[in-house]
Symmetry: C3
Subunit: 315 residues, 3 copies
């Protein structure tokens, strides 16, 4: 999330009641979670395991629960007891949730020849391009950005909150929700089937590339980036933060793990489970997904076990 305009380190320190160290007099552009940070960003970290990653990320500003770290030159740390709460405070300040009671929020910007069919819900700060068709019973939540020539079929929900919780059990009675302040971007020519769910980024974008076509009941997690001209068949699920490069095809019911990358023009056969990153230009099969040729040979080898047993007994 970019701030509406850059804010000073001192202003943020005051907002979250933090002690500053390092570069005390700088301007912060926005806040992002670690997978999406850019220069000028603020990030938070509350576990020693991730201190170094955050301090050495692109982020220039780090909310942290220790002072016992070496601050990289030019960077700023904000010391608080509970960085997670500080994050929530900042999000609530810049994107306070308010449940609109308008079925179609009057902040909607919509292009020529675009059609909203009956019973569509449109949240705040939604932009829809030209020549789009939004079918009945679609839900477009806050901050969804839609390009030109996009089709969204009935029942789909664009911009739901990330499934992202702080699961430290000692913090509160329950798992604490990481508030989502990101967005969904559907580029030109994207088509979304019926009954899909595409979650917004936690702090950044979930982006579906131009010309990508998605079948029914596909789930796309927060902060996923899908390239151009991909094809996703029905009931595919992609976990948070994963990247599909251009031209990837996933057949029905494929599941993809979080924060991995599937290379350009890769094809994954139906029901496969992608547990780790895959190279582009190849076809994959099975759980865990492997090169389809190897996997098919493996299935044949399994069928030869009784023969192997027999041969051994005879020898």
């Amino acid at each position: 999330m970019q701030f509406p305009s850059p804010v000073s380190t001192k202003w943020i320190a005051n907002l979250i009641q933090a002690k500053i160290a390092g570069n005390e007099d700088a301007m912060i552009k926005g806040i992002n979670e670690i997978h999406k940070v850019e220069a000028g960003d603020l990030v938070f970290v509350d576990h020693p395991k991730y201190y170094d990653t955050c301090l050495n990320s692109a982020a220039d500003f780090i909310i942290i629960n220790t002072l016992e770290v070496i601050i990289p030159t030019g960077k700023t740390i904000f010391f608080v007891e509970d960085p997670f709460e500080a994050y929530l405070t900042i999000v609530k300040y810049f994107k306070p949730f308010s449940a609109t009671q308008q079925p179609i929020n009057d902040t909607l910007i919509i292009g020529e020849n675009s059609i909203l069919m009956p019973k569509v819900f449109v949240g705040k700060n939604v932009v829809i391009g030209k020549n789009c068709l939004i079918y009945p019973n679609v839900t477009l939540l806050d901050s969804t950005i839609i390009g030109d020539n996009v089709i969204i079929q009935s029942g789909s929900v664009i911009g739901g909150d990330a499934f992202y919780y702080n699961t430290k059990k000692n913090r509160s009675q329950w798992y604490k929700k990481m508030l989502s302040c990101g967005s969904v971007v559907l580029e030109d020519g994207v088509e979304i089937g019926a009954g899909c769910t595409i979650d917004k980024g936690v702090t950044a974008e979930t982006r579906i590339g131009a010309g990508t076509k998605i079948d029914n009941m596909v789930h796309i997690g927060h902060d996923v980036t899908i390239g151009k001209n991909c094809l996703l068949a029905a009931q595919v699920g992609i976990a948070g933060g994963t990247v599909l490069e251009d031209g990837v095809t996933l057949w029905g019911q494929v599941g993809v793990n979080k924060t991995i990358t599937i290379g350009e023009n890769a094809v994954v056969m139906g029901q496969s489970g992608v547990t780790h990153s895959l190279e582009g230009g190849k076809t994959y099969l099975g759980f865990p997904a492997e090169l389809a040729g190897e996997k098919r040979r493996e299935l044949i080898w399994i069928k030869r076990i009784p023969e192997l047993w027999k041969k051994m007994m005879e020898s």
Copy 2:
């Protein structure tokens, strides 16, 4: 289903045109299907295979299509030709279906600071606690009970009818639907993602325990009981009557069989298929789901078959 107040054996016998045997003069508290019966309940059975189970269950009152059984002391049997029809007659009497035309039924009880966003449907006898947020296009069907601090995202359907049919083909032209008269209970702090379906209990409750967080497109069958602080990732499906104890984690696309139990703090890896009950505190993988360590070793053994073959050929 509890009756509004206890009813006499004679009144029920008259309603379903049954012949009574055993304790002819008692008061019945409610009706339940066999997996959920409690003392004071009425249950029905129409297959000799299940006569003993029903007669010896917690139920004190049994609708049955035989008189040739030993009635346990103090219990009552109701003899009818078709116990399934008798069950339907009782459900229709106490919970007659009537399709409300109100978008938000005026029987709704809703707590302080709870918000229904636009296009929410609320059926009859729904209760919502405090500080809840119900997103657009959510459907809350009859008898849904929601605690405090609950979030339900767009497109989710709470309280649909059970997928439960009498499949004896000689009975009627089609499979006959077992009418659902139960409810869904979402305890405090439960969060439900977008596009989920949680069916009501057939006669009792489907219950999601306090603090449990559920991702998008998760299906929860009738009469499932989920403990506290469970995490269910996207596209998980849980069949009817199953129990998840506290702290269970199911990763994406896991499928769970009906009427089994997953023990406390068990973790099931993505896409696994749970066919039988699992002990708590362990991690499981694959189809059928087994201890993850064993399953991973098995996957390695499979890859060694060609080597095994070669060694044997050489020996």
Copy 3:
């Protein structure tokens, strides 16, 4: 799609700017894609690989991008540079899309005692029989035909567009959508769970046979034909053009490939992946789905590999 009344070859040639060869003076009944063509139909083909199939199909009229073929006696070919565009032109002429703004279109024909609950959307030319119950937030898109005693639970979308694209990348900037002009037919006694999606046929019908019962979140692709009294458990997905004969049971999360046939009374166990046609009357398991007995033996053999290894090492 049948035309409202038969149209002449010359009229069609003019509409799509085609050169006619063969029988130049005939009447065309309708247009269908190759899997669904009937006598009197027009079909299109643009790839040499499929020229023969189309010329020798039931279709009497073929739109084609070559003149170098032998035209079967009595048939007509329409030569155009781009048959796909010609198809789109014909569909747009006979089924021009217009986004109705009526929540319930006034072309609806609905039988006695059928109930539409609140927030149902009904598109153009929908027919609903007697004694049906359509739950809140159901979407019935154009040309859906529903028999008697049908139940559709909340959130389901009937009649979405097919996931069917022309993926020749040289044709346009993006994959080009094959416009759907078919319909969905739900026969008498069909019951559909919550959150299902049933796509319309591309040019013909997607048909669910009488008495078939479908659980929640089931996806049925375009042009699928499901027989009578089938049972489909939650999260099943069936790809386009596939046939399920009568009495088939698919348990939860089963995936079925496109354009295959599952025989009468076959049973497919949960999470299985059906990659090819299956004979009726048997039970199947696994990926790829095989006879359950064989698959179970295979799972046992896999567990014996370490023993096999040990024996070999000792011998």
